[in-house]
C-alpha cells in the first residue's frame, strides 16, 4: 500500500510510461483556470500521470496533494475511481513529483491548502478516471471487434455482455495507452454515484498502524548526517560570534558550520548533534526583535483598534447607527500567537549534487519549495526533485510562503557537502515563529427597541500573513489582506449599519496560515458578540440568529440541525450550552457545546456539530475532519498561546504549550446536511466556531464573558 517506501518505483512513474507497458493517462487542465498565470502552457511540460495500471491489475493513483491527515490519499482516488470503475481493493497511492501537470487547478503551483483539495479536484479527477475508462473500453472493443457502445466497465474489467467476453484492465492497459485521448467524456450524474458519498476506509490506514508509513523524519540515505541548527533566540537576530570548540570535540560530530539562519552542527545521528549543539557558545546580534513583549504589543494593538483603519466593509453608517441605537455594547478581544505544533517536528532531507538536488520532506507547497531550493543551489527548478512523504500534520505550517525550512536545509547541504537531514527539535519547531498572528479586536454594536442589531463597528488589528509573499498580488486588495478580515467582513447577519476596519502593523515575528487562517480569530470575535447582542435583547441566541440571517442562507440549515440534534435547552444541573455558526472555505459549520466547571476549569463534555460542505465524497472522512478541527480549535481555545518576553518565546514544548489530551476529549456527534451543491472545504471549517461556542456556553453557565484566548487563563471559580 505505501509505495512511498520505494522511491525507485515512484521515479518510474514520473520518468516513463513505457517500461512496464502500463497505461498512463496524462491529463491536462484547460488553461482557462481562473488564477492561471498568463503564459503557463501545461503542454510545455513533460506529460505526467495520475493513473498507472500494472499488468497484474494493480492500480496506482498518483496523488498531487499532500496527505497530512485530511484524507486526500483516499478522497482523490475515490473521485478517480468513481469513473474509472477499477477494483477498489487493488488501488494503491503514490505521491506526485513536482510538475506543472500536478498544479492546483486554481493556482499556477502545486499546493495543498485552503481546504480546497476535493473541491478543486472534483471535476478534474473524475475526468481523469473517465478518460482512462473510455480508452480501456475502446481497446477492448477493438480487440474483440465489437461496437464500443456494447461494452461497459465494471470492477476492473471491460465486459461485452452479448458475447460474454471480458478482460481485465491490466491486460488492456498496453493497447489503451496507444490510443489517442478522447476529446470529451461524459461524467456520471450524482444519482449514479457508486463510491462517492459512501463511507470509505482510508487507504493509508494499514501503513499507519504498523510503523511502515514513511514521514520525512524516517528517510535515511547512505552516509547521511543529521543536522541541528542553533537559531537566534529572537526573531531576526544574527550570529555575532560563536565558539564551537567543545561541540567539535564530541564523538560523532562531523562539523560545525555557519549558515544564514544560525550555526549548524552535523553529526552521526540526532543525539550527538543535539548534545553538541547544546555545547555551542553563540553571541547574537538581536536587532529589533529583542524589544518585543506580548503585554506591550497587546496594549499597542488595542490603542490602534480605537483609530480609523482601512475599510474592509461599509454598509450604511455605523457611527450614526450606534448613536441612534436603543442600547449599545462595546468589547475588546485579545487572541494570541499560536504555533501549529504538528506532531512531526519540521525536517528536511537533502541530497545535493553539482547538477541535481533531491529533497525528501513533508511539504504542502512543492512548487514554491522547489523554486526556492533551485534559487539557493544555483540550479534550474527541473534539476530539483521533491519527494513528498507523509506529513505528520501540516495545519498550514508546511506551506511556508518563504519556504523557510526547505531554504535553510539547502543552505545547510551546501555548507556540509554531504547528504543531510535537518531536524528541528520540538523546541526549535515551537519557537521558530511562522505563527498564527496575534490579534486585537474591538467591536461596538447596537440594538434597536425590538432588540434587532442595527449597528456594528468592528476594528481588527494584526499582522498580514500574505504581505511580502507571492500570494500578495491576488490576496491583498487596497491594502487589505483578505485573510485578515475573512469571517468578519463576510458577516452574514442582516445589520443595516456595518463597518469593518483593519490595521496591519508590522513586526519581526514571522506569521503564517494556521488551520482556518483568519477565521480562527474572527469567528470567535463575531460569534461571541452575536451571543452578547442576543442576551442584551433578552432573546434565545439561536432564535436571535435565525431572525437576522437571510431566509436563503446556508447558515440556517447547519444551525437548525445542530440545535435540533443537541437537545437545546435540556441539561442536567451544573451544565450549560453554547452555540456558534460560521462559514469558511465555502462550507458551513455550527457547533453546540455542553460545558461545566470542574475546580474552576472549563470542562467540555459534548459537541454536537452540523456541517454543510456540499456533496460529500467520503462521509467518514468528513466526520474525521470535523472531529479533528474541533480538537485543534479546542486546544487553542482552552490552552494555546505563544507569548514573547524581550523577544524570546516563552513556550518551548508540550509541557507549556499543551494540546488537548485524551482525558479532556468531549464526545462529538457530527451531522451532515444533505446537499446537491458542489463540494466545498472540510479540513478547516470545523475549527472556527468551536472557540465561540465554548465561550458562549461559559457565559450561559457563569455570566462571565470570555474575550481573551486562551480561556484556561481566566479564573472562573
Amino acid at each position: 500500500m505505501n509505495a512511498l517506501q520505494n522511491p525507485s518505483r515512484r521515479k518510474f512513474l514520473t520518468d516513463s510510461t513505457a517500461l512496464l507497458g502500463g497505461l498512463v493517462i496524462g491529463f491536462y487542465l484547460p488553461a482557462t483556470g481562473r488564477a492561471y498565470a498568463a503564459g503557463i502552457n501545461p503542454a510545455k511540460y513533460p506529460p505526467d500521470a495520475f493513473i498507472h495500471i500494472a499488468p497484474d491489475d494493480e492500480i496506482t493513483i498518483v496523488v498531487n496533494k499532500s496527505e497530512m491527515g485530511q484524507g486526500v490519499y483516499t478522497s482523490l482516488p475515490m473521485l478517480i475511481n468513481e469513473e474509472l470503475e477499477a477494483d477498489w481493493s487493488r488501488i494503491g497511492v503514490e505521491s506526485a513529483p513536482v510538475a506543472a501537470v500536478y498544479n492546483h487547478t486554481h493556482m499556477p503551483m502545486q499546493l495543498t491548502g485552503g481546504s480546497s483539495s476535493v473541491s478543486s479536484s472534483w471535476e478534474q479527477m473524475r475526468q481523469v478516471g473517465a478518460v482512462a475508462r473510455v480508452l480501456l473500453i475502446r481497446a477492448a472493443a477493438a480487440e474483440w471487434g465489437v461496437p464500443e457502445g456494447e461494452c461497459h466497465a465494471e470492477n476492473g474489467q471491460v465486459i461485452h455482455a452479448k458475447s460474454g467476453k471480458r478482460s481485465s484492465y491490466g491486460k488492456l492497459a498496453d493497447a489503451a495507452a496507444k490510443l489517442p485521448l478522447p476529446e470529451k467524456v461524459e461524467l456520471k450524474q450524482p444519482k449514479d454515484f457508486k463510491l462517492i458519498g459512501k463511507p470509505t476506509r482510508r487507504l493509508d490506514t494499514p501503513a499507519k498502524i504498523n510503523g511502515s508509513a514513511q514521514f520525512g523524519l524516517d528517510v535515511y540515505l547512505p552516509g547521511i548526517l543529521t543536522v541541528l541548527v542553533a537559531r537566534s533566540p529572537v526573531f531576526g537576530g544574527k550570529v555575532k560570534r560563536y565558539d564551537a570548540d567543545d561541540a567539535r570535540k564530541l564523538p560523532g560530530v562531523h562539523g560545525v558550520y555557519q549558515v544564514p539562519t544560525g550555526i549548524a552542527v552535523a553529526a552521526d545521528g540526532f543525539w550527538p548533534a543535539k548534545t553538541a549543539r547544546d555545547l555551542l557558545q553563540i553571541d547574537w546580534d538581536e536587532g529589533e526583535g529583542g524589544a518585543l513583549s506580548t503585554p506591550e504589543m497587546f496594549t499597542g494593538y488595542l490603542e490602534l483598534a480605537k483609530q480609523p483603519g482601512l475599510v474592509a466593509r461599509h454598509d450604511g453608517d455605523a457611527v450614526q447607527g450606534l448613536k441612534a441605537a436603543h442600547r449599545t455594547v462595546s468589547a475588546e478581544y485579545e487572541v494570541p500567537y499560536l504555533a501549529h505544533a504538528a506532531m512531526e517536528p519540521l525536517n528536511v532531507v537533502v541530497d545535493l549534487k553539482p547538477d541535481h538536488c533531491a529533497i525528501w520532506t513533508g511539504t504542502q507547497a512543492q512548487t514554491m519549495d522547489r523554486a526556492a531550493a533551485a534559487r539557493i543551489a544555483g540550479l534550474k527548478p527541473e534539476q530539483v526533485e521533491i519527494h513528498t512523504t507523509f506529513l505528520g500534520g501540516g495545519f498550514g505550517r508546511r506551506a511556508n510562503p518563504r519556504s523557510d525550512f526547505v531554504s535553510e536545509a539547502i543552505q545547510v547541504a551546501m555548507a556540509v557537502g554531504k547528504p543531510v537531514k535537518v531536524v528541528w527539535t520540538r523546541e526549535d519547531d515551537m519557537q521558530g515563529g511562522n505563527y498564527r498572528p496575534m490579534w486585537a479586536d474591538r467591536i461596538e454594536a447596537g440594538i434597536d427597541k425590538d432588540g434587532r442589531p442595527v449597528a456594528w463597528k468592528h476594528t481588527i488589528v494584526g499582522q498580514s500573513i500574505v504581505e511580502g509573499t507571492a500570494f500578495a498580488s491576488f490576496m491583498i486588495h487596497g491594502g487589505i489582506d483578505a485573510t485578515s478580515v475573512e469571517g468578519a467582513a463576510t458577516l452574514p447577519y442582516l445589520i443595516p449599519n456595518l463597518e469593518v476596519e483593519l490595521h496591519s502593523p508590522k513586526n519581526a515575528v514571522p506569521v503564517q496560515w494556521w488551520r482556518s487562517v483568519g477565521h480562527s480569530h474572527t469567528a470567535f470575535v463575531v460569534e461571541t458578540m452575536m451571543d452578547e447582542l442576543a442576551h442584551l435583547a433578552g432573546r434565545d441566541p439561536v432564535a436571535y440568529r435565525l431572525d437576522v440571517l437571510p431566509s436563503d442562507s446556508r447558515y440556517r440549515g447547519v444551525l437548525q440541525l445542530a440545535v435540533e440534534k443537541s437537545g437545546w435547552g435540556k441539561l442536567p444541573a451544573g451544565r450549560a450550552q453554547g452555540v456558534a455558526v460560521h462559514q469558511s472555505f465555502d462550507s458551513y459549520v455550527a457547533h453546540v457545546v455542553e460545558v461545566s466547571l470542574e475546580d474552576g476549569r472549563i470542562r467540555v463534555h459534548r459537541v454536537v456539530s452540523a456541517v454543510d460542505c456540499g456533496m460529500v465524497v467520503n462521509p467518514d472522512g468528513v466526520r474525521q475532519q470535523i472531529e479533528s478541527a474541533i480538537v485543534y480549535g479546542l486546544s487553542a481555545a482552552l490552552h494555546g498561546e505563544i507569548t514573547l518576553e524581550k523577544g524570546r518565546v516563552m513556550q518551548s514544548n508540550f509541557n507549556d504549550y499543551p494540546p488537548l489530551r485524551f482525558s479532556e476529549m468531549p464526545a462529538i456527534d457530527v451531522h451532515i446536511v444533505e446537499s446537491s451543491k458542489e463540494p466545498s472545504g472540510i479540513g478547516e471549517p470545523g475549527t472556527p466556531p468551536i472557540a465561540p461556542a465554548v465561550a458562549n456556553a461559559v457565559f450561559a453557565l457563569t455570566g462571565k464573558r470570555l474575550r481573551r484566548m486562551p480561556f484556561g487563563k481566566e479564573n472562573l471559580a
Binding site: 496527505e67 497530512m68 491527515g69 485530511q70 484524507g71 476506509r201 482510508r202 493509508d204 490506514t205 494499514p206 501503513a207 499507519k208 498502524i209 504498523n210 510503523g211 511502515s212 514513511q214 514521514f215 523524519l217 524516517d218 535515511y220 543529521t226 564523538p251 552521526d268 545521528g269 540526532f270 543525539w271 550527538p272 505544533a341 504538528a342 506532531m343 512531526e344 517536528p345 507523509f390 506529513l391 505528520g392 500534520g393 501540516g394 495545519f395 527539535t425 520540538r426 467518514d620 474525521q624 472531529e627 479533528s628 478541527a629 480538537v631 485543534y632 486546544s635 514544548n653 508540550f654 509541557n655 494540546p659 488537548l660 489530551r661 485524551f662 482525558s663 476529549m665 464526545a667 462529538i668
Partner: protein
C-alpha cells in the same frame, strides 16, 4: 557494545550508553516506526515496550535496555494481542496524519495486556500521555473497546 532483545531478536548496538533508546532505534537500527515528538516524555509518540511495559523511549537511555526485551510497532503483529489491536485500529479507521499512532497503539497494547477489559478510567489513564493533534482520541477509545471485545 550493548545488547538487548528487539522484537524477540538479540540486537547489539555500538552507541553511547546514554543515548536515548528512541535514537538508537531510529538512527542506529533504522527502525523508524517509533517516532520523535518532544524528547521530554510529554507526547508519547516514542512509546515502546520494555519487558512488556509501555515506556517513553525518548527519555530511556540505551543502558537501561541492556539485556532486556524491547518491543516496537514493527514487531507488534507477532503477538495475538498486537494483531487484535491493529485490526481494531483498522476497523475503526483511527489514524489521520498517523504520526502519533505507533505510540498510541503501543500504549493501548500494553494497557490491554495488563487489563484485557479496561474501564474508561483505565483507558484514560493509559492514553492520557499520548498526544494526538489530529484529534483521534474518540476513535482510539472505540478501537480499544473493539480490541477488548466490548462495545465501541
Amino acid at each position: 557494545m550493548i545488547s538487548f532483545y528487539l522484537n524477540g531478536k538479540e540486537t547489539r548496538v555500538d552507541a553511547d550508553p546514554g543515548t536515548p533508546l528512541l535514537w538508537v532505534l531510529r538512527d542506529h537500527l533504522q527502525m523508524t516506526g517509533t517516532k520523535y515528538g518532544c524528547g521530554i516524555a510529554q507526547c508519547g509518540a516514542c512509546t515502546v515496550h520494555l519487558d512488556g511495559h509501555a515506556i517513553r523511549s525518548c527519555v530511556t537511555p540505551l543502558s537501561m535496555a541492556s539485556g532486556r526485551k524491547v518491543a516496537t510497532i514493527e514487531g507488534l503483529a507477532d503477538t495475538v494481542l498486537g494483531k487484535k489491536v491493529q485490526s481494531a485500529w483498522h476497523e475503526v479507521d483511527v489514524p489521520q496524519c498517523g504520526y502519533c499512532q505507533s505510540g498510541q497503539i503501543m500504549a493501548a497494547a500494553a494497557l490491554l495486556h495488563e487489563h484485557p477489559h479496561p474501564s474508561d478510567s483505565q483507558i484514560a489513564d493509559a492514553m492520557d500521555g499520548i498526544l494526538c493533534r489530529c484529534g483521534t482520541y474518540n476513535r482510539i477509545r472505540a478501537a480499544i473497546k473493539v480490541a477488548s471485545g466490548g462495545e465501541k
